[in-house]
């Protein structure tokens, strides 16, 4: 019960913080009305104004522990690995280029998604490497050869 409530509290708190930063940013932009005409900060302030009560309702429910069970991550390692790989791919895609970055990304994801299969680690590594090279080649064929879209070659 306590864990469930704390996840909801964290979510509500994060949304409140985002709304506050959003509203502050809007206020520092300009007043909501200039010469009686709605300005660029009018709409954001209106949204923040609607958002606050809604967020407080979720906060109140979380404190009363009324929320249904949600949000439990059943496989933390897989999620952390997938997020890490995806973030890394976005970072190295330009400097390293399409081929190496995509092979590494597909290799990593294939290892993550094939954990439930009954294979030895060596076999999984070989399988994932073959998949990574194959998918990268298919992607190259699709984008560069079929659709004539230039993919980054890397800065190194």
């Amino acid at each position: 019960m306590k864990k469930r409530a704390s996840i909801e509290l964290v979510v509500a708190a994060v949304i409140l913080v985002v709304l506050t930063l959003y509203a502050v940013s809007a206020v520092t932009l300009c007043p909501p009305f200039i010469d009686g005409i709605p300005s660029p900060s009018f709409w954001p302030l209106l949204l923040a104004g609607i958002g606050y009560p809604s967020c407080l309702v979720i906060l109140a429910r979380a404190l009363r522990e009324e929320s249904p069970v949600q949000g439990r991550i059943s496989s933390r390692k897989a999620i952390i690995a997938t997020i890490g790989l995806t973030g890394l791919y976005a970072v190295i895609f330009s400097p390293v280029g399409y081929w190496i970055s995509t092979i590494l990304y597909c290799f990593g994801l294939s290892m993550v998604f094939s954990t439930e299969q009954r294979r030895s680690t060596v076999k999984r590594v070989i399988f994932s490497m073959i998949v990574a090279i194959g998918l990268t080649a298919i992607g190259y064929a699709m984008y560069e050869l079929l659709f004539n879209i230039r993919l980054p070659g890397g800065k190194w």
């Binding site: 909801e8 709605p38 949600q70 997938t82 976005a90 995509t102 597909c106 998604f113 094939s114 299969q117």
Partner: protein, 505 residues
């Protein structure tokens, strides 16, 4: 005004081999994505969005229609064979189809699902094809205050109609609206919420947003999900796939007609989608049945009701999208992205001067249902189970790679690729907490228009009073109140009363 010649020409255009091939390609892509649990037609079109840049407009739209129709239909395949709906809209089909599969009558269930999808898909698309022709003059009657109220109504529906908390629905819509405010202001040359980055002046672009919300978050969801076809279904015999006349009589014409009405009406509602259409139609079939006790044990009328409704929904969902730029469901929202990519803007101009583009698109939807669903089942039906046997270690890395590269290719921006990743990760946590992704998407897509129309209304002579004095505006505001009352307030009051009764006893 309905131009029969133009409608006829639309069908002829689609039947040209160079266009028809794209319909077939789209159909098979949609069947694959619709059948595999975790993949959807929405995801398929989101992944293909960047590719449509290099395609001509009509083939791109025709392919999308093939994906849309097939994606909704194909969910019934795995729903029946392995009790895992390939698409959310096939949940009710699983309730009746899987028991039939266990009894050895899986082919019968698949045949009825395909037949019902064919009928629903054809009727939905033809109705929309005729209605768009009549809608153009009506659209011009709605002025700026009415346009804002219409979008307000759409956002209210999107927030209320999803299962789960209404308050979470509101927050999902608001977050989408907030993302839409990033970048240049709608009316003034001012950049907002750009965090001091020049790359953010153009805001969060459509394709990276869609890829982040649907593709990247889905890969994350699938990373912690494990499903398997634990029972290999028996081989299906082709002759058993053809629905028998006696079964069709048992289901009855009224079931099909009611389901079409329900499916089309729900399709028109913003954010409602196929799962809602199937659920409501199935519930109505149970309610009106003389033998409701047979439901849940392999009742083909349940399959017919659900599948007719969810495929009729396809035509309905496109109607408000084409007329007002307000999508009826997530897939039509992304199809709207395809229109934007090709410089097409929903509204009277698209429905009249550019009917030569819209017409073939709608004709393709109907032809896909008429020409491809049943024949593909008869030819490929016995092999459909192989679709779910694809190794996850190959499938999801492929989807993730296509999504990530697609986010880059959309604007050749590494920055937007990063934006897609951030949005994907945030959407993953969002979904885990029960927030509606469709409400988020609707907020993002309609945000700029909503802001522009409201600010313009407030600038006009009578200001905010116009919202309550113009008839179209009043109609949409009243509809919003009705929706909130029936879907939120009344169930809440009923629940409180029941809890009060329990406490007393």
């Amino acid at each position: 005004m309905i131009d029969i010649n133009a409608i006829g020409q639309s069908f002829i255009t689609v039947l040209q081999p160079s266009i028809l091939v794209w319909l077939v390609v789209g159909f098979f892509i949609g069947t694959f994505f619709g059948a595999v649990p975790g993949l959807t037609a929405t995801l398929a079109i989101a992944l293909l969005l960047p590719f449509t840049y290099g395609m001509d407009t009509i083939p791109a739209l025709v392919m999308c229609m093939g994906i849309f129709m097939a994606g909704i239909y194909a969910g019934s395949i795995t729903a029946t064979t392995i009790n895992i709906p390939g698409a959310p809209s096939a949940m009710m089909t699983a309730i009746e189809g899987y028991p039939l599969m266990k009894k050895g009558e899986g082919a019968k269930a698949l045949g009825h699902a395909a037949f019902s999808s064919t009928i629903g898909g054809m009727v939905g698309s033809v109705v929309t094809l005729f209605l768009v022709g009549m809608a153009a003059p009506l659209v011009t009657l709605i002025k700026t205050p009415g346009k804002f109220s219409l979008i307000f109504f759409a956002l209210v529906v999107a927030a209320t109609i999803q299962r789960g908390s209404f308050v979470k629905g509101i927050i999902a819509v608001l977050l989408g609206l907030m993302v839409a405010t990033i970048g240049m202001d709608v009316a003034n040359p001012v950049s907002r919420f750009d965090l001091g980055l020049t790359q953010m002046v153009s805001g969060v672009q459509l394709i990276p947003f869609i890829i982040g919300v649907f593709a990247i978050s889905e890969v994350l969801i699938q990373a912690e999900t494990h499903w398997k076809a634990t029972e290999m279904a028996k081989r299906l015999r082709r002759r058993d796939l053809i629905p028998r006349l006696s079964d069709l009589k048992k289901i009855g014409l009224i079931t099909y007609v009611k389901s079409m009405f329900i499916g089309y009406f729900i399709g028109v509602l913003p954010g409602a989608g196929g799962s809602m259409a199937a659920f409501v139609s199935y519930s109505e079939a149970v309610r009106s049945s003389k033998h409701p006790e047979t439901y849940g044990k392999g009742e083909i009328t349940g399959i017919a009701a659900a599948e007719t409704a969810n495929n009729t929904m396809c035509g309905g969902a496109l109607l408000p999208m084409l007329i007002f730029g307000i999508p009826g469901d997530a897939t039509s929202a992304i199809i709207m992205g395809v229109l934007f990519i090709h410089g097409l803007v929903p509204g009277p101009h698209l429905l009249t001067v550019q009917f030569n583009v819209v017409g073939p698109m709608l004709a393709a939807l109907g032809l896909c249902a008429a020409l491809l669903i049943l024949p593909s089942l008869l030819i490929l039906g016995p092999y459909y189970l192989k679709i779910v046997s694809i190794n996850r270690g190959i499938l999801y890395p492929f989807i993730a790679m296509v999504a990530m590269v697609g986010a880059y290719v959309a604007s050749f921006s590494f920055f937007q690729m990063g934006v897609a990743v951030v949005i994907g990760i945030l959407t993953y946590f969002f979904r885990k907490q029960g927030f509606s992704v469709i409400a988020l998407l609707m907020g993002y897509i309609l945000g700029n228009q909503a802001e522009l129309y409201l600010r313009t209304t407030l600038t006009l002579g009578d200001g905010p009073i116009l919202l309550f004095t113009r008839i179209p505006s009043i109609i949409f505001l009243v509809l919003s109140v009705i929706f909130v009352y029936f879907l939120v307030v009344r169930p809440y009051l009923k629940q409180r009363k029941q809890q009060g009764g329990l406490c007393k006893s």
